[in-house]
Chain length 162, copies 2
């Protein structure tokens, strides 16, 4: 299990500060890890607007605006939910870049179609909103860390295009 490099978080904060961009995270699977990593860097307050750990579907709907239809039709573990979470946190916070994580960290909750380690990461900016599916190996904490690492890389990639 590779620990996330603090230099990587520092590079993210530096990039967003230089570009005058703010980000915000809607985290289900990672439970606050993305915003925790960003705020581990001094000066993060200039670039992080807010983070929401939306473990319950009620919070996903009420705070982030994920539609009940999406949650019923596709479940919370889906591209569609990740997209709406990323879009929702960006609009709620007024940040330039919204990122989202949802998926099955395990050890329970996996199915044949969506086994443990199935993860969806969404990204939203004025350029649009998209999400990707991943299959990560490892235990609960490893899946969460790989997801957080990938979410940070999504923020950096999006910031570079803005």
């Amino acid at each position: 299990m590779k620990k996330i490099d603090s230099a990587y978080c520092e590079a993210l904060v530096k990039l967003l500060r230089e570009k005058g961009l703010k980000t915000a995270a809607a985290e289900s699977l990672t439970g606050g890890m993305v915003s925790e990593l960003i705020t581990s860097v001094s000066g993060a307050s200039e670039i992080l607007e807010c983070g929401i750990c939306s473990y319950s579907n009620r919070i996903k709907h009420q705070l982030l605006g994920v539609s009940e239809n999406t949650l019923e039709t596709f479940t919370e573990y889906s591209i569609q939910t990740a997209v709406e979470m990323a879009e929702g946190i960006r609009k709620l916070s007024g940040a330039d870049i919204g990122v989202s994580t949802t998926g099955i960290a395990g050890p329970g909750g996996g199915t044949d179609e969506k086994p443990v380690g199935t993860v969806y990461i969404g990204i939203s900016s004025k350029r649009g909103c998209t999400a990707q599916e991943f299959r990560f190996e490892g235990d609960r904490q490893s899946v969460r860390q790989q997801t957080a690492q990938k979410a940070l890389s999504f923020i950096i990639e999006e910031a570079e295009k803005l």
Copy 2:
């Protein structure tokens, strides 16, 4: 710097599950660390309603309902703000126990009156709402970890009384 024991987080989740209680965290200083620690435990979804990392005062006011008067008069680093954050996250989430963290993790931001390491932790339940001031030693990450550890202990103490 003492790492927070995963057994401690597991004990918290077990206690709240047994008592049928839910919690929610409003985190400024700890930036998501409290909810990240709770969700590191499998089954946390049963006891964690949501977490909000409210780094900006706008989010503290708009989402958590901390009054502008409180923020102007006492600043975000105060007993009053911690109390209103804990009360706000409990009402917003519908959880039984709301916890909040705010303070100065450093290295910058300290004053003579409130040096780096000055931390406020709030706790709210149907029993009422209160907050305490702490002075923690150490670097940014150490101050954040000591704060998260104390916040977890506040949740356990409150749960035992409910």
